[in-house]
């Protein structure tokens, strides 16, 4: 019992939102930083953002499973709302959502990290 609790508090078993949020922001900036919404390029962009996030997350070398979702939406006055509900272990698991926008589009990236 004691050993298990020590493991939960060790740094490598905690989902650190700040680190993940930095990773996501970098990934978005590098993939779609200065671009305007283009329908034929959106496919590439979502893949690029998601793959770059995931590869940076694996470099953290933590015992975690990750789920990364990215939504890119053109700005035209439409409304978008996202909610998530999770059944997990609060000590080890966590999520981070980053909302980014420029003049022509919104980009919302969510990362869920689940401890093994």
């Amino acid at each position: 019992m004691e050993v298990k609790e020590c493991n939960d508090l060790a740094e490598e078993n905690q989902f650190i939102v700040d680190d993940v949020s930095k990773i996501i922001k970098e990934a978005i900036e590098n993939s779609i930083g200065g671009t305007a919404y283009q329908h034929n390029k959106v496919n590439q962009w979502t893949s690029a953002v998601v793959e770059s996030c995931l590869s940076q997350l694996t470099k953290l070398e933590k015992p975690y499973k990750y789920i990364v979702t990215c939504t890119i939406m053109q700005k035209n006055g439409a409304g978008l709302h996202t909610a998530s509900s999770c059944f997990w272990d609060n000590n080890t698991d966590g999520s981070c959502t980053v909302r980014w926008e420029n003049k022509t589009m919104y980009c919302i990236v969510s990362v869920f990290g689940l401890g093994i």
Binding site: T71, G77, H81, S85, C86, L114
Partner: protein, 153 residues
Amino acid sequence: MADEEEVVDEEAEVVQVGSAESESGLSPVEVEKPLAPPKYEVRPGLGEKFQARNVREIIISTMHEQLTGRQYRTDQAPRWAKVISNAVRQKVQDLDMKRYKILVQTTVLEMKGAGIKCGQRCLWDPETDDYVDELFRNDTIFCHTVVYGVYLY
């Protein structure tokens, strides 16, 4: 956390008193049941995997229940998103899939002609983990719900 500290202190005192008393000294401490021997199972058993079909039905029925006959309203959309994701999560938990962690994400969009693209990547074990996603569309609302099931080894 506080309990842990107490346990450590009492055991230290017991050791000082003497070995003969150490066994009886354990009784004031909360009785710790002996842990069951490890089973070394790293995969869900037969019939215990993520029930994708049942989850799909749950998602479709919940979205229809909440959104049929409604028009998109800015003040109500955030509430719908939360209600749908909580309801789906509760019903999926009622399926009682052992050792599975459940994540539900619901997105409610207004149909106004905007272009939108969603992508996802998962780093997990495809033999044990799975996801189900479904769409609901009407004239003004577009709702996407995805449920992830991740196995805890």
